[in-house]
């Protein structure tokens, strides 16, 4: 076989493949629609727009590989405009009018609570990519973000063990996620023997910008001769003036470290991080994690957004995992039908970006490693601690009296989101 023949054969093969691919499309297999429900305007646009872009990128990449089940994927983007009731309307529109096979969306817990009844009524599938407060399990929702035991509790453990923290400030924005997380943390700290007077809880409104007196308060609380740390569930924009004020008032990470659950690479992009070096964040993914999968992902993302400095963050990783799991489940089920896919999802395991595998558990939460990172001067995080192995997402916290007896298992025959092991019945407190 000379060179010419090889080339000719290659060309023929390529032509055949191409015609096969177009043939499949031409034979009328309509594209599979995928809904993207993220705010593109309003207060949450800052965080959610990025997730929309990630989804578009993932869908494009999947289509390059030929889609799934021989059909292309088609994104349907809607803008719920940071308006919680509008989330429900848009979800209904996606499920009823566009007949999407799955929806990737929501950021705040209140938006998730708003769409939940719609997904349950119309039997849709929602992938929710953000760390949240737990105390929920729905058959129609897959929670790819961290449950409290995959973020908050390991972070507190780290501070106790490595920095010998004895006094705790729980500072948060005033809504459901910080309030529930702080309730869990308070119960957890007390179970570890921390006295009531060593815990200070403080809530601020969304977008709070004048932090002078609160930071002064934290300073005052910290001068009791015991090592003090701040556990921050402050969300969104308010973080920037908060960290600025910490720097202004000279609170260094080595005096009073702040560990945050909602501050990632994206949020730090708007701040000069030099005064913040050493403050911490707990996530399941950091851009600075070094492994080939992550490096490839960062490269694809920066090419897709045409911005070589564009950062990646944890909720993006959650969407990557969720999307790949959904693809696997659809392949396994051989259809995009909700019931079949929901059943096929459990047990699916895909690579995560930190160099391991994440698997979908029967409670619709996933397994994740927990990473603690310290902020660096360049806006990235240095991983200072990582859990041994993966942590299983626990939807019903063991530290709250209302939920410690509840478990969730969506496999048959149990098929229940809040099974009470004490009474042996499905249905307990919470939703």
């Amino acid at each position: 076989m000379n060179l010419g023949t090889i080339m000719r054969t290659g060309l023929v093969a390529a032509g055949l493949l191409a015609s096969a691919a177009t043939g499949a499309l031409a034979q009328g297999a309509p594209p599979i629609k995928v809904g993207i429900l993220h705010s593109l305007s309003g207060t949450m646009a800052i965080s959610e727009t990025t997730l929309k872009d990630v989804m578009l990128m993932l869908i494009e990449e999947q289509n390059k590989k030929g889609g799934v089940l021989g059909r292309k994927l088609e994104p349907v983007v809607v803008d719920p405009a940071s308006n919680w009731p509008l989330f429900a309307e848009k979800a209904r529109e996606l499920l009823q009018k566009d007949k999407v096979a799955a929806v990737f969306g929501c950021w705040t817990s209140v938006s998730r609570k708003s769409v939940l009844p719609v997904f349950e009524e119309l039997n849709g599938i929602l992938f929710y990519p953000v760390q949240y407060e737990g105390e929920e399990s729905s058959r129609n929702v897959f929670y790819t973000g961290a449950a409290p035991n995959q973020q908050a509790i390991p972070a507190v453990d780290y501070l106790m063990a490595n920095e010998k923290v004895q006094r705790w400030v729980l500072a948060g924005t005033d809504y459901v996620y910080p309030r529930t997380t702080n309730k869990i943390l308070e119960a957890y700290l007390k179970s570890k023997g921390v006295a009531q007077e060593d815990i200070l809880i403080n809530y601020t409104p969304f977008g709070h910008s004048d932090w002078q007196s609160i930071v002064a308060d934290i300073k005052k609380f910290g001068s009791a001769g015991k090592k003090t740390a701040v556990v921050s569930t402050i969300n969104g924009d308010a973080n920037v003036p908060f960290y600025k004020e910490l720097g202004n008032q000279g609170i260094k990470a080595k005096d009073i470290p702040v560990v945050a659950f909602s501050v990632g690479e994206e949020e730090l992009a708007g701040i000069d991080t030099k005064p913040l070096v050493g403050h911490l964040a707990a996530w399941n993914y950091f851009q600075s994690v070094k492994n080939p999968t992550n490096e490839a992902f960062i490269k694809t993302w920066q090419t897709f957004t045409k911005n070589p400095k564009r950062v990646t963050n944890d909720p993006m990783e959650a969407h990557v995992i969720g999307f790949n799991m959904w693809i696997e489940a659809v392949k396994k089920a051989g259809t995009t039908d909700s019931d079949a896919v929901i059943d096929a999802m459990i047990g699916v395991s895909v690579p995560n970006l930190t160099g391991g595998y994440s698997a979908m558990l029967p409670n619709h939460h996933i397994t994740k490693p927990v990473l603690i990172g310290e902020i660096q001067g360049n806006g990235q995080f240095d991983v200072v601690s990582q859990t041994n192995g993966l942590v299983l997402g626990d939807e019903w916290s063991d530290y709250l009296p209302d939920s410690k007896d509840l478990i969730s298992d969506w496999r048959k025959p149990m098929n229940c989101g809040n099974f009470n092991v004490a009474t042996g019945k499905c249905g307990g407190k919470g939703k």
Binding site: P205, A216, G225, K226, D237, V240, G270, V277
Partner: protein, 537 residues
């Protein structure tokens, strides 16, 4: 012969000296290499070993490690200190201090530290730099020892106190020594003396040391003395705290004043309910961002002047947009407050989305010039330069506005038109022109506010939304149409808010202020300083 012998002696002495030097260097070399290997725990031991070597070269190496500037070069495993210059790092050999060229971050492996290690390094550097020739370094060393007292530092501290000539540094050393004594196993009497010294220092750190001493004290008399001293310090601090709240209140008030003062013109004197006022503030902030971006790329040495350059530009941009809005929309809606409200609300959404499309939805970083960063102490109050400048700036803007309205012909026309439009028109004032200029002035001032707010808040498309409600509250509370009312209103609300916050929390504090204003408006519908006379009707 004699010569020969003495030469031999000299040579052997030299040789042994070089060997000794080499041994020392090798010793330091291995100590430094130990720093770069193993886990955080191993690193902690290595830091201790390096610090106790007493080598003068250890201090800069440890400082570099603490600052995250200690690297291992991947190619030859050389430990180097890297200082950023441009896109590269300029390297010096850690042990010898010789220059070692330059490299990019990817060719180096940074020696990582965590918070705990940073604290340990600071204490170690503290005891190594007690004898530094620079008085500021010595004070810094004393302060870090005060915060992290190490019993081992007692000896060096005593030596340092004996040799110290600068009275302030000596004082700092004495206080650090007292903290060290409290952390050591000295006698009860020594500890009680130390408690007295720490008490006289009287700040938050002193309170922290005293509380720690009280928690750890074994002897009951030491515990009692520490508790009593802590109580004294706490009482002094409580008095300072009240003063601090007043300052925070003034600072918050000045921000409210800046945000509201433009509205006091457009809403207060013209009667236009301008919901897009916040967006004018946002435009000012984005102008600052653009100015800084241009300066960063083309004239970095001008960075400290960036805000001064941004001020007139922000005024022109926001003022120009204001005039466009007035000519394009609002002039058709005079006398129809509801329509104005809706139109300007819609406009605010349009402006937000426009900015979001141009600049993206994420926050933009506006840097602080060097004269606005940092803080200084007044007694126990921490005053940041940024906040101080904003208070001063707000007062300057306020004073200039008053002068403009009282002393210039434009100001005279404005007052004439707002007080009696037909009469002003009759005497030959071009009222539409004055309307446009007044609205432009109000918007322009909002733009100036944006420059100041870019220093303390997020520069995002939503920047203005956070201030619109507060601005209306200030103007209505102060008295519509009265600029002095706006000043007093802003400062009152600021101070009240800051005194409520520690007791009621930020959320409840805001609600209480709102309730207070509603009740107040019931009693005095025209606000604090009501305009009197016919112009009101």
């Amino acid at each position: 012969m004699f010569l020969f012998r003495s030469l031999a002696v000299l040579f052997s002495a030299l040789a042994s000296l070089t060997i000794a030097v080499a041994a020392l260097a090798a010793d330091l070399q291995s100590l430094v290499t130990n720093l770069t290997a193993g886990s955080f725990g191993d690193r902690e031991t290595a830091i201790g070993a390096l610090a106790s070597s007493g080598d003068a070269r250890a201090a800069p190496i440890l400082e570099a490690l603490g600052a995250g500037q200690l690297y291992v070069r991947t190619s030859d495993k050389l430990v180097v200190i890297g200082k950023p210059s441009g896109n590269q790092l300029t390297l010096t050999e850690a042990v010898s201090g010789a220059a070692a060229g330059a490299a990019t971050e990817s060719e180096l492996e940074r020696v990582r530290v965590n918070n705990r290690l940073r604290g340990i390094i600071e204490a170690a550097v503290g005891s190594l730099t007690l004898m530094s020739p620079d008085a500021r370094v010595r004070r810094g060393a004393a302060d870090s020892l005060f915060k992290r007292p190490e019993p081992a530092a007692l000896g060096p501290l005593d030596a340092a106190i004996a040799g110290e000539k600068d009275a302030r540094v000596k004082q700092a050393f004495t206080e650090a020594r007292a903290a060290v004594v409290l952390a050591s196993d000295a006698t009860a009497q020594q500890k009680i003396d130390a408690i007295g010294i720490v008490r006289d220092r009287g700040d938050r750190e002193a309170l922290s040391v005293l509380q720690g001493a009280a928690n750890n004290a074994k002897e009951p008399e030491v515990k009692a003395a520490a508790l009593a001293a802590a109580e004294t310090v706490r009482q002094t601090l409580a008095a300072w705290e009240a003063a601090q709240n007043v300052w925070y209140g003034i600072s918050l008030g000045s921000v409210l004043l800046l945000a509201a003062i433009g509205l006091a013109i457009t809403f207060g004197t013209m009667g236009v309910i301008n919901m897009a006022h916040g967006e004018m503030v946002m435009l000012g902030a984005y102008t600052t961002f653009v100015v800084q971006e241009i300066i960063r790329t083309s004239a970095p040495h001008l960075f400290d002047a960036s805000l001064l350059i941004a001020l007139p530009l922000a005024f022109l941009v926001a003022g120009g947009v204001g005039i466009l809005i007035e000519r394009g929309i609002i002039r058709f809606l005079y006398g129809r407050p509801l329509d104005t409200l809706l139109a300007t609300w819609g406009l605010s959404l349009v402006l937000q989305q426009a900015v979001r499309s141009i600049f993206g939805s994420s926050n933009r970083e506006v840097g602080a010039p060097s004269w606005m960063s940092g803080a200084f102490q007044v007694g126990q109050i921490n005053v940041t330069y940024g906040r101080l400048w904003i208070v001063i700036f707000a007062l300057i803007v306020f004073a200039s506005l008053i002068l403009l309205l009282r002393k210039t012909s434009l100001g005279l026309y404005m007052r004439a038109v707002t007080q009696n439009r037909p009469m002003a028109s009759a005497v030959g004032i071009r009222t539409p022109r004055v309307d446009a200029l007044t609205f432009g002035l109000g918007s322009g001032i909002a733009g100036l506010a944006g420059v100041a707010l870019s220093q303390i808040d997020n520069v995002s498309p939503n920047l203005g939304q956070g201030y619109i409600i507060d601005s209306f509250m200030v103007v209505v509370f102060g008295g519509v149409g009265n600029l002095f009312g706006t000043l007093i209103g802003a400062l009152t609300l600021g101070v009240v808010n800051k005194f409520l916050e520690p007791y009621a929390g930020a959320v409840l504090g805001k609600i209480l202020v709102l309730v207070f204003i509603i009740l107040f408006i019931q009693r005095r519908p025209r606000g604090l300083f009501a305009l009197k006379g016919r112009s009101v009707e």
